[in-house]
Symmetry: C2
Subunit: 350 residues, 2 copies
């Protein structure tokens, strides 16, 4: 077991100074062709690689991006990570992941663990608990210490940072308009409680679409689910609530669900109650995961392009990091990028 070789060891071995070795390896013109070759050969032989930590300390930057997300077992978030990792690697950065598990405390702790020099900047999506408590001091503090943040999907406007979001309102409108165009007359929405920002926005899109087509929204067609972590209890509860919805509103012929799970659950119960998809009930869902594509019937969805969101977020962050390097203190101006959604038609609509 040979430990990693350092400049110092090479220097001693070759009887030159550390500086000489360093310069030789970086092809400095200060070093004679002769010693340069000798050093490089030796370095290659012993498979020398500069120690990243030492470089980070010296350069005061780590070339590492911290990601904080609520959970990773989630198609959307893992797609985003894929996107982040893709451009991060391409631009010479690594990616370190922290999970908040939707908890405020874990979000704070994770950020503190990483903010002490381990990373150059954050890409994150806010935990539900944080959104509920509306306590954002850990974000502002991080930013005040000069560490840039890029938020995606679940964002809050008052934080000064770049943001990448999907146009939830517009996406929801697209979904509902599809149902309207397909002759649905009684369109229900299955959404989350309002404190989840995307749930609120999608509900808003639903209402706007109805309004645009002179349809009066009916409160009984709006089902807001308490969106706890997906325990089995929660699933039972979800099924009950949806079943009530159908039983209380026999005329429902269209459903807009704010996520896949709500959609497939609705379909399952609708079938149990004798409805045929898409003949007597059409369904459109937000979020474009594996369920949409592979369940039967496959779901017509509003695709969020998670990977693209990740790529954009990473580019924004790295751009800012590498811009900060050159000109120091200009007035910071932050960008909010909106990633357009697409309607992907599958079997759950006519």
């Amino acid at each position: 077991m040979k430990r990693k070789v350092t400049l110092k060891q090479i220097a001693k071995e070759l009887d030159v100074s550390i500086s000489t070795v360093s310069k030789a390896l970086r092809n400095s013109i200060e070093i004679s062709e002769d010693t340069r070759q000798k050093v490089q050969a030796f370095a290659k032989l012993y498979n020398y690689r500069p120690n990243n930590i030492a470089l980070s300390l010296k350069n005061r930057k780590t070339k590492t991006i911290g990601i904080i997300i609520p959970e990773i077992v989630h198609h959307f978030f893992s797609k985003v990570i894929t996107g982040i990792e893709l451009v991060a690697n391409k631009r010479g950065y690594n990616v370190i992941v922290g999970l908040s598990n939707e908890s405020f405390d874990k979000e704070v702790i994770n950020m503190q663990m990483l903010a002490n020099g381990s990373i150059d900047g954050f890409i994150l999506s806010i935990a539900k608990e944080t959104l509920q408590q509306q306590d954002y001091h850990h974000f502002t503090e991080t930013i005040n210490q000069g560490m840039p943040i890029v938020m995606f999907d679940r964002v809050v406007n008052e934080i000064p940072c770049d943001k990448v979001i999907v146009d939830d309102v517009k996406g929801a409108k697209k979904a509902v308009e599809k149902l309207i165009a397909n002759d649905c007359k009684n369109i229900a929405i299955i959404t989350t409680k309002d404190y989840v920002s995307v749930g609120k926005l999608r509900t808003q899109g639903y209402l706007e679409a109805l309004e645009d087509h002179k349809i009066n929204p009916k409160a009984s067609l709006i089902l807001k689910i308490e969106d706890k972590l997906l325990s089995d209890d929660h699933l039972d509860n979800l099924e009950n609530e949806i079943e009530q919805l159908f039983k209380a509103n026999k005329s429902i012929d269209g459903i807009f669900a704010v996520n896949e799970l709500y959609a497939v659950t609705a379909i399952k119960l609708a079938r149990k109650l004798g409805l045929e998809i898409p003949k007597s009930l059409q369904v459109v869902s937000f979020s474009d995961g594996v369920l949409s594509k592979h369940s039967t019937p496959s779901l017509t969805t509003i695709s969020q392009h998670g990977q693209q969101i990740g790529e954009k977020a990473a580019d924004l962050l790295i751009n800012r990091l590498e811009l900060d390097e050159t000109d120091d203190e200009e007035e910071e101006v932050y960008e909010t990028v909106v990633i357009e959604t697409d309607l992907i038609e599958r079997e759950s609509t006519k």
Copy 2:
């Protein structure tokens, strides 16, 4: 924008030495109660946190674990990460993620990026391309440099490291035995080509189960899919091959699929051909993802307990890291932990 405060700044501000500040903060008895309080108050005021990178350099360990997995948009792998992150955080470690995207080159590059001091050890699952090429030099080199590796799920025996695997053979046997017990007479398997180790092992389990019950395996009932990354082309191809399988073997009444996707695709095509699930065709699948639970009919599966695998892998790695600290060179003896699978019965079997 106040930069992060360092020991040096505190020292200057309070007109003491850096050493004094450091000791005061760590409650050394060398320091008088008086100055200790002064320093600690000042540090708290300015929200001092030791710089992680500097600590890493000094201690020659980073308290960070590197994970290399083929892809992250995958229920099993993200479950494993959840498990790793859980125990890593609990034990004071961070987690840095690299994706190989099933490519040998990306696997090597990612490992090199991280092995230069950024992390203390690896947890990884081998890329398909690497398995195919059987080139494992990057693993042995890493280990030779004194950096421990824990492999999970896709492992190779000849590498000296701890491993966490599921008993694929036994799991597959459980699945097939369930079908046999449910009176299936013609059980087909949909699996991957043999170079994917888990595919091979599950096929072996299928054969063993048949043999145990004196059933002669029929080559025509064994469908081996070329398991490229899931492009849409690949999906079409998958459907074709499965359709051929059904058409050529009308008597199939049981299917064992090595993953969810194969299972739901098979169900979809079986229905198209007029088969009823589970009445005339029963299906059991490996892997316990979101499709199994929420598609209709839900799938009877062999659950792999991804999170548990991650937790175990992290514990093994950290144990080894913290053991290396104390007694240096004893004979390394490596462990292979087998995580038992469970049969989870749902609607796709009687």
